[in-house]
């Protein structure tokens, strides 16, 4: 005990009553949370199990696009309901976790639409309000089923099948990867900002722009280094798809279902 007393300086042994001033920093928490959310979403893609629907990604994109166009064009409420029910059936084949996520998203979008349309409802536009809300439900569900049942890297390769210019594919590819890299980078800076601002920190507003600015400078350096690395490995800026298009049973099934939808659309449109 005596020995310790000698080593410890006196000021360390004093009790201190430091009460940090409270500060408004919810916006930092909010930024951190929204960044974490995005990162989690993208990371989930990495450990993605092969999807339950084995359709060709290009075909899946085309079918989703067609479905959304038909939905948007349709004036028949019955058609919209049929699509909604079919999408729910497809949804029921996915995992429970994914189902909850997709349902949450699409119901939120649909309810939001309905709230926006309440004034129109008061003006007497019952048809538009209900029709739009159910169309939004189906559309958001369709897109989310596509995004959850397909690997994102497959989606970019599908773009090549659609003859999207290489520059877009390159940019898209890099973007998805760098959202994660830069996101982690700025997340660390946000943590640092939060940890270091004890009590009232008036410079915090300033620091947020500093974080974004540093992110840009960092990304510029990363871009140059990455291109050098890519060139060293023989990248010329051209993308080639090696996989050949082969029709599988799933593709045929998907096509048949789609044709069925088109038939229903035409049939109900006539009536």
């Amino acid at each position: 005990m005596n020995v310790e007393r000698k080593i410890m300086p006196a000021w360390l042994l004093q009790d201190e009553n430091y009460l940090p001033q409270s500060d408004i920093d919810t916006y930092i928490n909010k930024s951190i949370l929204s960044l974490l959310n995005i990162l989690a979403k993208i990371r989930r893609q990495d450990g993605h199990k092969p999807c339950q629907f084995y359709g060709h990604p290009a075909l899946k994109i085309a079918v989703t696009l067609l479905l959304i166009t038909l939905l948007s064009l349709s004036k028949s409420f019955a058609f919209v309901i049929i699509i909604n029910v079919c999408l729910l059936a497809v949804l029921s084949l996915l995992e429970a976790e994914v189902i909850i996520k997709i349902l949450k998203l699409s119901l939120a979008a649909s309810i939001f639409t309905f709230i926006i349309l309440i004034p129109a409802l008061l003006l007497g536009n019952y048809y538009t309000s209900i029709m739009l809300s159910s169309k939004v439900l189906a559309t958001v569900m369709a897109v989310n089923i596509l995004s959850h049942s397909t690997k994102w890297s497959d989606l970019t390769s599908a773009l090549k099948t659609f003859r999207v210019p290489d520059i877009f594919i390159l940019v898209l590819d890099i973007t998805i990867k760098y959202i994660v890299l830069l996101g982690e980078f700025s997340l660390n800076m946000l943590y640092a900002l939060k940890l270091r601002s004890v009590g009232l920190n008036k410079n915090k507003y300033h620091s947020i722009s500093g974080i974004a600015g540093t992110m840009f400078i960092k990304s510029k350096e990363m871009a140059e280094e990455m291109y050098a690395a890519m060139e060293c490995r023989g990248f010329t800026g051209e993308y080639k798809v090696h996989r050949k298009f082969k029709f599988t049973v799933a593709d045929v099934l998907l096509l048949m279902i789609t044709l069925g939808f088109v038939y229903i659309f035409v049939y109900l449109g006539r009536a």
Binding site: T26, Y27, K30, S31, S34, T64, L65, L71, S72, L73, K75, A109, T113, L117, P119, A120, L123, G124, N125, Y127, T128, S129, M131, L132, V136, T139, V140, V143, N144, L146, S147, W152, P165, I167, F168, L170, V171, L172, I174, T175, I176, Y178, I179, L182, I208, S209, A212, G213, T214, M215, F216, I217, S219, K220, M222, A223, E224, Y227, E231, G237
Partner: protein
Amino acid sequence: MHIPDNYLSPSTCAVLATAMIPVWTTAIKKVKEEITSSKMPLLGIGAAFTFLIMMFNVPLPGGTTGHAVGGTLLAILLGPWAACISLTVALLIQALLFGDGGILAFGANCFNLAFVLPFTGYFIYQFIKERVTSERGEYIGMALGSYLGINVSALCAAIEFGLQPLLFKSAAGLPLYSPYPLAISIPSMVIPHILVAGFVEVVFTVAIVVFIKKASPGAIYAGPKHKIKPVYGLLAALICLSPLGLLASGTAWGEWSVEEIKDVVSGGQALGYVPPGMEQGFSFAAVLPDYTFHGLPDVAAYILSAVAGVAVLLIIFKILGLSKNKTGAYPDER
């Protein structure tokens, strides 16, 4: 400001997507000319950058938070064509992978956010920067550019929404898509942007550029100078488009006064009451003067007032430039 699917008619989406095709082709060509291939990844990283900027929440008065889009910022940092490609990709990722913004409405969203926003912002910035050559001029340009950029883009979205009930009606005369006419869609889209989102964008743009200038001065895009002609083209196009406002007032839909709305015929029968929300009135519409002159057709009067407005603005900036720049080193092209 991301337009979801089904709010716009498929034909509107198709028109706007077609309008984007020449923009995209030019952007690819320009970017290949301007940017060496070693800087190509910068576009992708730029897209990731804007994507993340939308994640940063900035505190707003009243306890809420908002986020910037960063379109003008990206145009200032990378150049407008590169910004166009980066924003397009960011929007594609949001639409396809995160369900934010519609798939069919992708063309429309690109038109508003990847074309109108960065180009308006950038050209206003460039225009003021060349007229007012002090450092302050540059910051004023940045602030005005980002403020007007996001507002013009919101106005475009509002016009797209507002045209839907005019153009697409069911057999019963009810709107098929977004039901609100221009008189409602414009104030409800533009007022929040004028009051809040515009300022968030300005604060973010200026603060980040100031930071980057201090930390790494070489990193900012130095575009080819004397890019003044496109600004005049843009102004001329806006002037020609200004009679669009007449669509709202010229047709019966939209600009009723509170007394009139009781008698408005919709779907074959008179409305018969005043919607409670309208009784307070949209102060925005009330503030706007009529833009009409006696003895002139409406369209002509509209274009005339647009020309007058632009001329007054040009004169103000020229005078501002003169007082800052007394040596007479005046940009020679006009």
